[in-house]
């Protein structure tokens, strides 16, 4: 079956605009993660969804960032009033949800804020 799908693959936006990034996880995967990767840096944890439990938002860098997930399907990451420091690749990963299950990553969305 298809892997994790992210859209758009590239997004250029002006400072101050809102953006929405989408992630379609692998069917049946109950866990979903968002990460941010700035140029030359590692993956920075943002948010984690597990089934119908309340999401772990402990990695969100500011209240401009929010994410939603509908059941065990699509997730959207929203960044309001974008800033230049938000420029990065945003990676989504899903997993079957068992303890330490391997993460399956999407190709990412490259966000550029001008």
């Amino acid at each position: 079956g298809a892997g994790v799908s992210q859209s758009p693959s590239n997004k250029v936006t002006e400072k101050g605009k809102d953006v929405e990034l989408r992630c379609d996880p692998i069917s049946g995967h109950t866990a979903l993660y968002w990460y941010r990767q700035r140029l030359g840096q590692g993956l920075e944890f943002l948010i984690y969804f597990q089934g119908n439990s309340a999401p772990d938002k402990s990695g969100l860098p500011s209240d401009r960032f929010s994410a939603e997930r509908t059941g065990e399907s699509v997730s959207t990451l929203t960044i309001q009033r974008t800033q230049q420091e938000d420029s990065a690749v945003y990676l989504c990963a899903s997993s079957p949800g068992g303890l330490y299950s391997p993460l399956h990553f999407g190709n990412g969305t490259r966000l550029t804020v001008t």
Partner: protein
């Protein structure tokens, strides 16, 4: 707080030479460690995990709790091993979240 450190941004070796990619971690609980790899134009994917004690593509990694390390090793590097390698940490105290290092780019020269 938890932290994963990969001290080398770039590691270049010749084909057939041994390779070791370093990973150190900081974590107050019992760690679970992983190595992920990203080949050119491919997605980030799991290479191996400590819990499975496996060898994948000739790579092995041993968890050393005394030195808080999980270095990735291969006795004879191949050109197809050239990729970005990320060390990742999880554990019960982290509630199934994973924390990644900054990555090491391995370049295997012919």
């Amino acid at each position: 707080a938890q932290r994963v450190t990969q001290p080398e941004k770039l590691l270049s070796v010749f084909k057939g030479a041994p390779v070791e990619l370093k990973c150190n971690y900081s974590y107050s609980g019992s760690p679970e460690l992983f190595w992920y790899v990203q080949y050119s134009r491919q997605r980030l994917q799991l290479l191996l995990r400590h819990i499975s004690r496996e060898s994948i593509k000739g790579f092995t990694a041993d968890l050393n709790k005394g030195e808080t390390s999980f270095h990735l090793k291969k006795p004879f590097a191949q050109e197809e091993d050239s990729a970005m390698y990320y060390c990742a940490l999880s554990g019960r105290l982290l509630f199934n979240k994973f924390y990644f290092g900054s990555g090491t780019k391995l370049n295997v020269k012919p």
